[in-house]
């Protein structure tokens, strides 16, 4: 699924990733842990085909990160839940979901069930994104991701700023994704919570992997 070797990624001339070696297998739930500025977000963006690969080598889903052509494929087949919502603030939840479903060439008939399943179907449907709470926004972003059906889910601090119910919801989504065959990589500060999910925890410091340990999470395969 993910295969990085000595991966270097520069953000504004700064080596956010300074040589990452990481292999993630099909169906794993990998948790990235490390202090602020360790390069967790950049690593996820690299896996999504957004951050550049400036050194080393890597493949995502078998596509070479060094090739611009292949990177377009990677972008289509991975899903990123980032700090930004990836939604249009001024449009309603439903308009956003319909637009992104079409943009991603997803089946339009899946929009309704997804709205319902993520509790966005009722009153929230016609509310603008800018008027939603942090948790509701995150749910709307997840809804887009669900309808894209990515093979790899890249979640950047998915629990941040959410209440208990919101966090439970994220956990449930992650389990759900894995059950349907996805691989998940989560960057998180939240120590206790994600450990329950993880099949493996990878430590990132100074843009490099400094250690890893296996977990007892619910992923499908062992590393």
């Amino acid at each position: 699924m993910v295969n990085l070797s000595g991966a270097i990624s520069l953000i504004g001339g700064f080596p956010a990733l300074a040589g990452v070696d990481l292999t993630v297998d099909d169906g794993e739930i990998v948790v990235l842990r490390g202090p602020n500025g360790a390069g967790k977000s950049t690593l996820l963006r690299l896996c999504a085909g957004l951050a550049p690969l400036n050194g080393g080598s890597g493949t995502i889903l078998g596509h070479d990160l060094a090739s611009r052509e292949r990177r377009r494929r990677i972008r289509r087949e991975t899903g990123l839940l980032a700090h930004q919502t990836f939604l249009y603030d001024e449009l309603t939840v439903e308009d956003n979901l319909r637009f992104w479903a079409k943009a991603n060439r997803a089946d339009p008939s899946t929009v309704e069930p997804i709205l319902d399943r993520l509790d966005l179907g009722g009153r929230l449907r016609t509310v603008k994104i800018s008027a939603l709470s942090a948790g509701q926004r995150r749910r709307a972003s997840v809804a887009v991701m669900v309808c894209r059906r990515p093979k790899i889910w890249l979640l950047d601090e998915p629990h941040a700023g959410l209440d208990q119910a919101g966090r439970d919801f994220i956990d449930e989504i992650v389990r759900h994704a894995v059950r349907f065959g996805a691989t998940v990589i989560i960057a998180s500060h939240d120590h206790g919570r994600v450990s329950n999910l993880a099949t493996r925890t990878v430590h990132l410091v100074g843009g490099m992997v400094t250690g890893a340990e296996d977990g007892q999470g619910e992923g499908r395969s062992v590393s």
Partner: protein, 244 residues
């Protein structure tokens, strides 16, 4: 490469100085005044070569941009940037000498002459190109966007040039002062000054390019250091034990 000069630039530089001195002699002393324009024709020996160098600069920018988009080589990117700077510098010089020339020939510093108008617009357009080269973006992104603009700029240049000419041309015949008649010695002076200015332009271009190249190397070295510092962070953490 640690210096921007070399034997070649030394030769080019001296040739430019000698050439400029000679063309000064020919332009101001040896060549005769023109029948219609009188002594003010002598500005032509500065004006025309300057335009030639700036157009050549923009041409190199175009070429460098095309090649850069094809092979992503920093050489052509930096060359395109350096050439645009030389082009802008000489265009500024053209506008100033044009205004000085305008006073005796037209009686004003500014005339809505098609060439003058188009050159001014073009000048601002390339200032925009240089602004793109200074944008706060990752280097490859900046270079790619600059290359795209460096290519389109040539098309803009042509459109601006002809539309402005058409704009004035519909009202009056295009006039650049009075009819000029250049005799042999005047043509030779012109030729000489064109060569001298081209040498000057080449000399400036080589040096400007090398400065940019050295800057890029410094950037790479800084990056290498940042990379090892970054790895040091990771190493320190590994030694100190990972927080869990």
């Amino acid at each position: 490469m640690t210096s921007t000069s070399s034997k070649a630039t030394y030769v080019v530089g001296w040739a430019a100085i000698v050439g400029l001195a000679l063309s000064l002699l020919f332009a101001l002393v040896l060549s005769p005044p023109e029948v219609n324009m009188g002594d003010s024709v002598r500005l032509l020996y500065v004006h025309l070569p300057t335009i030639a160098v700036s157009y050549l600069g923009y041409g190199i920018t175009f070429l460098g941009s095309v090649i850069y988009l094809r092979n992503q080589s920093p050489f052509w990117d930096l060359l395109a940037g350096a050439a645009a700077e030389i082009g802008v510098l000489f265009t500024a010089f053209v506008l100033v000498t044009g205004a000085i020339w305008g006073k005796p020939t037209w009686g004003t510093y500014w005339e809505w002459d098609p060439r003058l108008t188009a050159t001014t617009v073009m000048f601002i357009m390339y200032l925009g190109y240089l602004a793109i080269r200074r944008m706060d973006l990752p280097q490859e992104v900046r270079s790619r966007r600059a290359a795209v603009v460096g290519i389109i700029a040539i098309a803009n240049l042509i459109i601006v040039r002809y539309s402005v000419q058409w704009w004035r041309g519909l009202h009056q015949g295009q006039t650049l002062g009075v009819d000029t008649q250049l005799d042999g010695l005047m043509l030779f002076s012109l030729f000489l000054s064109v060569v001298a200015f081209l040498l000057l332009g080449a000399w400036l271009l080589i040096h400007r390019f090398r400065v940019a190249w050295l800057e890029r190397q410094v950037e790479d070295m800084r990056l290498a250091r940042a990379l090892s510092e970054r790895r040091g962070e990771a190493g320190g953490a590994a030694l100190g034990g990972v927080v869990s």
